[in-house]
Subunit: 259 residues, 4 copies
C-alpha cells in the first residue's frame, strides 16, 4: 500500500456489487432486519441471534417523547422557517447531546469502569457498586442513567430488562446496574431507579457496543419522532409561528392495544 | 381548546406512560420491529403485514456506499476536527439532499403524477408512460430514478422488486415505473433502467407514504453507514488529516454469504 | 492543466503567505474593515469607497431581534443540551431560511427582474412597478420585502436608505423598490412599506451582489446575536429547561445613546 | 417577576424600536463598524476605541485558507449535493471545532491560567511561563497556539501584534505568550513560535473576551471564506463531483497590493 493509501473496513463498492462488511447488500435485503443491519454496519459482524430482539427493543424504546424535548423543538423550529426535511433533522440531531440522550454514554462509561474495577480489585459486583455510589456521593455528583426528571416509573425500563432476560442477554453489566440501583436506595433513602437511558446503557454494554457509538442508538431511535414532528409542523401549521410547546394539546389516536 | 392551543397527533406523554400514535411504547417494544415502528411513527398506523418485509428491505438497501458519497465525506471531515458524533452525523445528513438521495422524492413525484394523469385522462399506464417520456425528452430533462451514474446493473433494484412481488406489494406505481423504463429504452435506444432510488420510490408510493417523507427513508437507511465511517475516522486516523477518498483502500472482511 | 485539476479563485496558500483574491491577508489586516473584507472575499474585488459604509450598515442592521426568532430559539435549544458553541450556531444558521431572512433573496429576485423587464420593454420604472404589483395582486401573492408582520414602522429601513443616499449608492433598484411601495399603496389602499429585508435587498442589488449570496449577509449580521443568546443560555440557565420565549423578560441595559 | 419569567439582557424589541444592549440598532447603523457591533453584542458594551482596529484585524486574519481546511471541504461537499447556502454554511461551522480553530480557545485557557497562577504564586510572567512549559513537557502535551503544522512563518502573527502594539492593547497576556514562546525555544531547542491562533488568543484575553466565546471569532472570520467556496462550487462545478482538494489549482487574481 502506497504512502497515501488509507484503510477502510466498512464497505467495498465494486461494479454491480456493494459489499457491506463482506455481505452483498442485496443478500442482506429481505433476510436481516434494520436492527441487525444497524449492528452489522457498526460492529462488523451480525449480532448473535439472542441480540436481535433486544436491538429492536432498544431502537423502539426512544422513538418519540412528544413535542417538548429539545431535539423535537429544534427540528420543528427549523422546519417552520421553510428549511428542507434533512436540515430540520440535522438541527434535531444537534440537540441530542450531553444532557439529552447523553446519559446513555455516561452510564455505559460508569458501568464499564465499575465492572472493570470489580475484576481488577477482586471485588464482587455489589462491593464495587457500593464503592462507586459512595464515591459519587462524596463528589456530590449524580450517576448518569439513574433517577427520573419527574417522579415517574418509566415502564420502558422494566420492559427492556424483561426482553433481555427472555433472550438471555442479562449479564454482569445489567447486574452491576441493579447493584448500583440498590446501593443508591440504601445510601440515600430515595428511589433513584435505573431509567430508560441506564437500561439501554447496560444492554449496549452486554452486546459489547463501543461507548463511542452510544449516541447513535438514541439518534436512530428518535429519528422517526423527529420526522413525524417536522412533517406535522409543515402540514398543519403556519410558517414562522412561535412554537410554545406548553400549549400543545394531544389530539391523536386514543390509547389502543396491539392486535 | 383555547386560542393559543395547537394540536399534535404524534405522542401523548402522561405520568408513567408514553403513547405513540395511541400505543404505549412499552407495548410496542419486543413486538414490532424498528421498520414497523418507523412506519407507525410517520404514518399514524402500523403497516399492513405484507409491507413489513418491504420496509425492512428499503431501510437495508442504502445502508452504505463506501467513503465516496458526499454524506460520508462530510461526516468524516467533521469527525476529523474533533466534533462529537451527533455533529458529524448532522453534517452527513445535511449532504443527503437534492442530488444525493433526492432522486427518491423526485421519482415519487413523477410516478404519482403519471398515475394520476393516466386516471384523469383515461389512459393506460403504458400510454401515460410514453407521453411522460416524450415530454421529458422534449424538455431535455432526465427522469429521476432511472439510469445509473456508471454503467452498472444495481442488484438492489431487482432484489427490492423480488421481495415486493413475493409480498404482493407491486401495483400501479411499480407498473408505471416498469412502463417508463421500457419506453425510455424504446425512445432512446439506451438502457436507462430503474435504479435503486427509483425502485424505493415506486414501493414508497405503493405504501402510500407521503412524498414529503421520502428523504427520511434514505437518511434512516444511511445513518448506520455514516456512524461506521465516523467511528472508523476517529479510531484509526489522525485528526485534521486531508481526506482524499480516492486513496481509500478496502481492507475489511472478504466477500461472504449469510449463514 | 491535467484532467483531474479543478480551479479555485478564492485563496492562494503558499509558504509564509496566504493571498485572498490576490491580497496577502496580512496586508489587509489593519487596513480594511471586516465589512470590506467580507465583500472582497465574496466578490473578488474590494468594494467602491462609497459602498463601505453601506456594507457596514447592512451587516449591523440585523444583529439581533431578541429571543423569539427561530434562529435564536434553535440556537438556544441546542446550547441547552450541552452541545458546543459551533453546533448551537449551526442549528441557528439552519433556521435562517425561506421564511426567516429569506425575503432578502426573494426581494432581490423581484427587483432584478423588474428592472430588467423595464429595460427590455422600454417601460419607466414606475410603469414596470405598476405592472408587477398588478401581476402579484392577480396571483394573490405577497411581494417579498414589503409589509411587516406587525403594523410597525421599522426605523432601520429609513436609516439604511438615508446612509445609502449620503453615500450615493441609491440607483434604479432603490427607485424600483420605492415605486413598488407607492404602487402597492395605491392599489391596496393599505400601507405595505419596504421593510428592512426589502431595503437590504435593494442595496445589495445596487452593489451588484449575486442573489445567490443574499442569505450570507443576513447570516453574518445575525451571527453575533446567535452567539449572545447561546452564551446567555449557557451561563444563566439550567440545562434542558423548556425555553418558552413568551416568558422572557428583558432585564438588560436601559435605552441609551451613542456618545 | 413571576415564576415562569426568565431574563435576557441582549435585545429589547418594542414597537418601532429594536434596542441592542440598550442602543437602538438604527442608531448604531452608520456609526459603528461590524467589528464593534460584534463586540457590543457579545460583551454588552462597546469596545474601547483602541480595541476597534484590533477587533477588525482579528476578524480579517482568518478569512480563508483555501480549499483544504475541513470547514471549506464540508461546506463545498454539502453545497455540491444541492443543499441551500445556509445548510452548507452550517456544515462548515460544524467543522470548526477542537482541532480546527479550537486552538484559540485552548490557548486562551492556558494564558488565563498562567497569568492567574503568576499572580497567585507571586511569580514573574517569565517564571510562570517556564513552569508551565516544564509541566507540559513532562506531560508530553503540546501547548495550543504555539508551533505550525508546516515549518512556516505565518506573517499574520507579526501583523496582529504590530497592530496591537500601535493601539496599546498589548499587556500581560501578550507578554505571557511571548514568555512561553521563549521558554519553549530554550527547553526544546526548536522554534515553536506563537501561531495566528495563539496571537488571536492573547489579544482576546487582553480585551477580556470570555473563553466560551473564542470560537465565535474564528467562525465569524471564516464565514466569508466558506461562502466564497460554496458559491464557487455551485457556480463552476457539476453537482455530486468527488471533491479532491489536492487537485485544486489556484487560477485567481495574481498577487497585488492595496492601493
Amino acid at each position: 500500500m502506497s504512502d497515501k493509501k488509507w484503510e477502510t473496513r466498512v464497505t467495498n463498492v465494486a461494479p454491480n456489487m456493494i459489499m457491506l462488511r463482506g455481505y452483498p447488500i442485496d443478500d442482506l435485503m429481505g433476510k436481516v432486519s434494520y436492527a441487525e443491519a444497524f449492528y452489522l454496519t457498526l460492529m462488523g459482524e451480525l449480532p448473535e441471534p439472542s441480540h436481535k430482539k433486544v436491538l429492536d427493543a432498544i431502537l423502539v424504546s426512544s422513538l418519540d417523547h412528544g413535542v417538548t424535548p429539545p431535539s423535537a423543538n429544534a427540528a420543528m423550529t427549523v422546519a417552520s422557517t421553510g428549511s428542507p426535511l434533512n436540515a430540520a433533522i440535522a438541527a434535531g440531531v444537534l440537540a441530542i447531546s450531553r444532557f439529552h440522550g447523553g446519559a446513555i454514554e455516561g452510564c455505559m462509561k460508569v458501568l464499564t469502569e465499575a465492572v472493570r474495577s470489580a475484576e481488577a480489585e477482586g471485588q464482587t459486583l455489589v462491593e464495587a457498586a457500593v464503592a462507586l455510589v459512595a464515591q459519587y456521593k462524596e463528589a456530590k455528583k449524580r450517576i448518569p442513567g439513574f433517577g427520573h426528571r419527574y417522579p415517574t416509573n418509566d415502564p420502558r425500563t422494566a420492559r427492556l430488562f424483561e426482553i433481555a432476560k427472555e433472550e438471555g442477554v442479562c449479564g454482569q453489566y445489567v447486574n452491576m446496574a441493579l447493584a448500583i440501583e440498590k446501593s443508591l436506595h440504601e445510601v440515600s433513602g430515595k428511589r433513584l431507579p435505573i431509567n430508560v437511558d441506564g437500561a439501554i446503557a447496560a444492554l449496549l454494554c452486554e452486546m459489547q457496543i463501543d461507548t463511542l457509538m452510544a449516541n447513535a442508538f438514541f439518534i436512530a431511535s428518535r429519528l422517526p419522532g423527529l420526522v413525524a414532528h417536522i412533517v406535522e409542523e409543515i402540514k398543519t401549521q403556519k410558517p414562522m409561528r412561535r412554537i410554545i410547546t406548553a400549549d400543545a394539546e394531544y389530539t391523536g389516536h386514543k390509547r389502543r392495544c396491539l392486535g
